[in-house]
């Protein structure tokens, strides 16, 4: 990992190592430290608080067994992203539920001061993001929403950087075709 982006600070590295060695207290602290980050990611993925809590919980349980395989060669957060995304995919598959529509109902979605127009647009855009193909959706969330570079996203998603760029391009094209000519009718 040449850039060394988001290398966890020394304290976290220490915590992870202790947990990997079997220290239960360290593991518990680790889960509590990263619960918020995982939840946020899960919520973006599904737009539904209850589902996000289920997914995060599941991801925490997976972490119990999966932590051993974290090899400290990347940022812990990126490794966690991968874990959460996979868990979310599994979760939806197991529910045979399609992500999306949840966000349509979510009341937390927009900033409170937003105008009704903005809120509706925001909900609709998110609803459309939810039904993008998984590859495009995860790329879009990581790059546009989380602000990662294409390269960082590519590492997390285990695809080539160009694939990430292409997926984002595709996703934006679709969203543009739906919401594109925004001002034309005004």
């Amino acid at each position: 990992m040449d850039s060394g982006f988001w290398m966890p600070d020394a304290q976290d590295t220490e915590l992870i190592k202790r947990a990997q060695a079997g220290d239960a207290a360290a593991f518990e602290a680790l889960v509590n430290d990263y619960y918020g980050i995982m939840f946020k990611m899960a919520f973006k993925w599904c737009g539904d608080r209850t589902a996000a809590e289920d997914i995060t919980q599941e991801a925490c349980i997976k972490l119990a067994r999966g932590l051993d395989s974290f090899r400290h060669d990347s940022a812990f957060t990126s490794w966690l992203y991968r874990l959460v995304i996979n868990t979310a995919k599994d979760w939806f598959k197991s529910q045979n539920r399609h992500p999306g529509a949840g966000i349509e109902q979510a009341e937390h979605v927009a900033a409170p001061e937003a105008s009704p127009d903005d809120i509706i647009l925001m909900k609709q855009v998110w609803a459309q993001i939810q039904i993008l193909p998984e590859g495009e959706k995860e790329a879009l969330i990581l790059v546009v929403s989380e602000g990662l570079s294409h390269k960082e996203a590519a590492l997390i998603l285990e695809v080539k950087e160009s694939t990430v760029s292409w997926r984002i391009h595709e996703a934006r094209k679709k969203l543009e075709s739906l919401f594109g000519k925004e001002k034309k009718y005004g």
Binding site: Y35, F39, G47, R49, R71
Partner: protein, 794 residues
């Protein structure tokens, strides 16, 4: 949408705050798993034989919270294995509390249908909480519940004995076997033949979010997956050692994420796909790439809509009179919105133009007195979708109730059958009714009757002021069993009559997905029953829920016969609109049997058609017959009807030719206004509008009439011009908006008249007619039109 706008939307999403309890629960479960994992690592030789590792091995993508919820229902299952591990390994006392809770619940909720169990087909039975590896047992859970309670560990026991675990295991086995023996008794799937534009792979219904953290029931699997489950179970029974993440064959993503991050492929091989609705065969999992876009309506197979043909043009000379009943229902719009938001095109039959148009509130002038509940507003504009034709808008708005509202005697008749067990059904229903309570007065009474396989009173007539009693009755509702709507309706009317108050609004509010399959299932019989009860002064309103099983046809029929409205609740915000913002129109009728009759002046009008209202057609003679039932209006309701007509002389806009042998073909009536018939008193009249209605307490109808003249003609477009003399008068925003909605609905129905009219035109017109839009409903419509554009060129 440019990059920065997208960025803004995606970054400014507000993440709900982390729920401390959820975090604690997750941490505890993870910790238990962690300890179990460490222990396994240290005693590798014991793999596969220790009860602990077998239990842990069953941890699945669905463990945890769902199972905990389920645990409350009193059955200890797969996911609870993880919880058991907490007991075993960590010895946390907290689980004791859970168990206690579980034991308590098992002894039965407040409405315990003892005979439901017999009625339940295994396929329809569904319980909150998801089973994982033990999926098949879900179907037998009902029988198994008491069994489970027998073996439940004594409350407060900090440690479950191995014997206890073995007992649970044994019971689980039995339950599974029973389920498999019972076999597949799923109801046949009456799939309506898809029309040519309706085809596509199946998809699960959209997920749903309800706000206040209420328990969200999960969609159920159906028993057709039983064979798969059996296999899944067999796999799960295998020694647990290779269940460890990453070592399973097919685990993908080598390298970066490591073996720890369990990939999706593993889950599919082990866990059956639960499917929310009975399906004829296991569904192929379509590759995700195919998800977008989803251009067609996907037949869920069981939503039912009335069959009708769009009204066609009628020759005014042959049939100069048009009669229809008012309609204030809005169900169609909510359904269409839901489908479009989920990326599907609604089926043409689900689009009822008048319900789409009437969903919105229009600011028509209102009379002052209750003696005359409304006055008609008529506007004539050029038809935007057919050159040469014109539109005649007829709008009425009921007066608003001011001052003291009448009391209400409401009976909620709630469907708690298995088919209601989805996030967007029973849970949404409970919350919707809580909302409704807010719009009632403290001394109003409500009662609750539920029906599934049987019907029962859950809440006897109770004052709204005793809110906690009502809440707890609502909170205890659970779904399961078949649907004997008929028996429930009888019981509900009984209660309403018992508590009948002459001064009050007496109303049964039926909330259901409309899947009546036990009891009085005969539609006609039900309709007659409701109509008969209407005479006694008890009205019926219908709230429709859910999708996939929604029987719109029956809901409509019941509401029409019960002097009530049918609304479709697809979200909590819709519930708020119907039950809170519009509570007075939903609850307080100001006029009943509202009928419209329009006589067209054949000297002016060659052809006409009524846009929408197909299911509300009345015969000409029905208008004056007070025995014929028609639609009703509540306080503040608006009704808008639109006619499209071809003026005499506009030959190119005609849809049919005149008859050669007709007395006087319209083409030869060279009668532009004030020419040949200048002496006629009706020279300037296009048509004559008559409205009949009854006051709620009366049986004789009253009549309102109004000629429609050339003076009603306005320009559709918003005209911006100075104080010039020749400036044409422009129609109201309401007219523009209603026209846009009607245009949109017709496009969605694929009507032939609309080939030239595009969604962009709808958008432009709707934007012009947006007006004040206090609640944002019109803005929402505009965005729906944008969504629909995704389908336009297919």
């Amino acid at each position: 949408m440019d990059e920065s706008a997208l960025k803004k939307i995606m970054q400014e999403i507000e993440i709900p705050p982390v729920d401390a309890n959820a975090q604690k629960r997750a941490a505890n479960l993870a910790l238990a798993e962690f300890k179990a994992h460490q222990k396994e690592k240290s005693e590798k030789s014991a793999q596969g034989t220790s009860i602990l590792s077998r239990l842990i091995g069953r941890s699945t993508p669905k463990t945890g919270k769902n199972d905990m919820k389920f645990g409350k229902k009193g059955f200890v299952f797969a996911g609870t294995g993880t919880a058991l591990a907490v007991v075993l390994v960590a010895g946390l006392a907290m689980q004791g509390g859970q168990m206690q809770d579980a034991a308590k619940q098992t002894s039965g909720g407040p409405h315990n249908f003892s005979n439901v169990a017999q009625n339940i087909t295994t396929s329809k039975l569904s319980l909150p909480g998801i089973f994982d590896v033990f999926g098949g047992e879900k179907d037998a859970a009902d029988e198994a519940m008491p069994l489970a309670s027998e073996v439940t560990a004594p409350p407060g026991t900090a440690e479950a004995s191995p014997a206890y675990i073995a007992a649970v295991e044994e019971k689980n086995e039995e339950a599974l076997e029973k389920a498999l023996r019972t076999g597949d008794s799923t109801m046949p799937v009456p799939v309506e033949a898809p029309t040519d534009r309706l085809q596509l792979p199946e998809k699960a219904p959209s997920a749903f979010k309800l706000d206040d953290g209420m328990e969200v029931a999960q969609n159920r699997a159906d028993s057709r997956a039983a064979p798969e489950r059996e296999e899944a179970k067999r796999k799960a029974q295998a020694p647990a050692q290779d269940k460890m993440a990453g070592t399973a064959p097919g685990a993908s993503s080598p390298g970066y994420a490591g073996e720890g991050a369990v990939s999706s492929s593993e889950a599919t091989t082990i866990y059956p796909e639960p499917y929310p609705y009975p399906q004829p065969m296991p569904m192929p999992v379509s590759p995700p790439v195919d998800y977008y876009p989803q251009p067609y309506y996907q037949e869920q197979g069981r939503d039912r809509f009335p069959e009708y043909k769009p009204n066609s043009f009628k020759v005014a000379q042959e049939e100069p009179v048009s009669t229809f009943s008012s309609d204030v229902d809005t169900a169609s719009y909510s359904f269409v919105r839901r489908e479009l938001n989920a990326g599907r095109l609604p089926p043409a039959q689900a689009v009822r133009i008048e319900e789409m148009v009437n969903y919105f509130d229009y600011n028509y002038p209102v009379p002052e007195s209750r003696e005359e509940p409304f006055q008609p507003t008529v506007t004539i504009v050029d038809s935007p979708w057919s050159p040469g034709r014109k539109l005649m808008h007829i709008g009425i708005k009921g007066y608003e109730i001011t001052g003291e509202k009448p009391n209400s005697n409401l009976v909620f008749l709630l469907d708690v059958s298995g088919s209601m067990n989805a996030q967007d059904k029973l849970p949404l229903l409970k919350n919707s009714l809580k909302l409704l309570l807010d719009s009632l007065k403290p001394d109003d009474t409500v009662s609750i009757v539920v029906y599934a396989g049987a019907a029962g009173t859950v809440l006897p007539p109770t004052k709204v002021s005793e809110r906690s009693t009502i809440y707890s009755a609502l909170d205890n509702l659970q779904a399961g069993g078949s649907t004997a709507g008929g028996a429930g309706i009888e019981l509900a009317y009984q209660l309403a009559e018992q508590n009948f108050n002459k001064e009050a609004v007496n109303r049964v509010i039926l909330a259901t997905d409309g899947d009546f399959n036990v009891g009085i299932t005969n539609r006609e019989q039900l309709k007659d029953y409701v109509a008969k009860k209407r005479e006694t002064g008890v009205f019926l309103s219908v709230l429709g829920f859910g999708q996939g099983n929604y029987n719109d046809d029956l809901m409509q029929a019941l509401a029409q016969n019960g002097n009530g409205t049918a609304a479709y609740i697809d979200s909590l915000s819709e519930a708020r609109k119907v039950l809170l913002d519009e509570a007075s129109s939903t609850l307080f009728p100001i006029a009943k049997d509202v009928k419209f009759q329009i006589e067209f002046n054949t000297a002016q009008i060659a052809e006409y058609r009524l846009v929408g209202y197909e299911t509300r057609h009345l015969n000409r003679e029905d208008f004056n017959n007070d025995k014929v039932d028609a639609g009703d209006m509540g306080a503040g309701h608006t009704v808008t009807a639109i006619y499209e007509f071809v003026p005499v002389g506009a030959q190119s806009a005609r849809s049919v030719d005149d008859l050669r042998y007709a007395a006087k073909p319209a083409a030869e009536v060279q009668a532009p206004i004030a020419e040949s018939k200048a002496d006629s008193p009706f020279a300037n009249e296009y048509a004559f509008l008559k409205i009949r209605y009854k006051l709620p307490s009366e049986d004789t109808s009253r009549l309102i009439t109004r000629p429609v003249t050339g003076q009603d003609q306005l320009t559709l477009q918003k005209v911006e011009c100075g104080p010039a003399d020749s400036c044409p008068a422009s129609a109201s925003d309401d007219t523009r908006f209603a026209t846009a909605v009607a245009g949109f609905a017709q496009i969605l129905r694929g009507e032939v008249n609309m080939v030239e009219y595009k969604l962009d035109d709808v958008l432009a017109l709707a934007q012009q007619g947006k007006g004040n839009d206090e609640f944002g409903y019109r803005a929402e419509f505009i965005n729906l039109v944008r969504l629909a554009k995704a389908f336009e060129n297919r």
